[in-house]
Subunit: 167 residues, 2 copies
């Protein structure tokens, strides 16, 4: 794949479980991997274009496999701007918190639809069995997130004045 294609692939699937890397990072990382011999590059394109097409090397595949099965996975890192704001809900009004949660459910629904589309494109394709499992994982996460946020919204105090104290 070219760097550009790697970026497209990452935007399609990787971003749900990791980060969608910037183009600049894709290119610099690919260059580092090539230096380390973990991928090989070839210049391609009819008419001698300077597109670089990368392929994983046997060494790279071995290292990837080793990383995958031997190294201990870290615990997932979550950075949740909505939960972070809710944590300090007491400095503002319950209504502000409620509105924020409602908005969040909306964007959650959009994300869910995007991942659903990915999941459908993976159906009945044995070569994508693992990506399909992971997509289902993501969909389950979004479903549970929507359910708990709905519940939390209801548990928020009814509208009255404004913020109480915190410590």
């Amino acid at each position: 794949m070219t760097g550009y294609e790697v970026k497209q692939r990452a935007d399609r699937t990787l971003r749900f479980y990791w980060v969608a890397p910037a183009m600049s990072q894709v290119y610099s990382e690919l260059a580092r991997l090539a230096d380390a011999g973990l991928v090989t590059a070839s210049l391609v394109g009819p008419g001698g274009r300077r597109d670089r097409r990368y392929r994983i090397s046997p060494d790279g595949l071995a290292r990837l496999r080793e990383w995958q099965t031997t190294s201990e996975p870290e615990f997932p890192i979550l950075k949740h701007p909505v939960a972070l704001r809710l944590l300090m809900g007491s400095i503002s009004s319950p209504d502000a918190a409620r509105a924020m949660l409602t908005d969040y459910r909306r964007t959650l629904a959009e994300r869910r639809a995007e991942l659903s589309a990915v999941r459908e494109s993976l159906a009945d394709r044995p070569e994508f069995a693992y990506p399909a499992l992971v997509a289902d994982w993501g969909l389950a996460y979004y479903a549970s997130e929507d359910a708990i946020v709905a519940e939390l919204s209801e548990r928020l105090p009814a509208a009255d004045g404004s913020g109480a104290s915190d410590s």
Copy 2:
């Protein structure tokens, strides 16, 4: 609070929804906030120790409130090393994937117990109503995570040779 106390607080609650910052970051960030006038520092301690105790300033509180209610929260960022490895499950054996998921459920249970303890310490304390809501959010997440991982484990192909192809 002192920087040290801020760090302890972050380790106790913030780490479930964000990151547990390194001590060094707590101190440098506190210094930046003090420079910006968003917190005020006072030297304290019997006998003239040089402990710095910080307090949020009126300006800081106003800015925090503004950030909380006015700024649009980003969508949560998840970095999930287990999902990332599972995504490429086809380069190794289903058994390796199964073992990884089993391990993950174990550490998930530990985390869940830790957050449960925090949640219990927050019970029946109206001043911690919002932190309690957020703790319940986290507990719901861990519960759903455990359920879906158990299900995915079962959907993994039964043991046979080793890895198939991927693309």
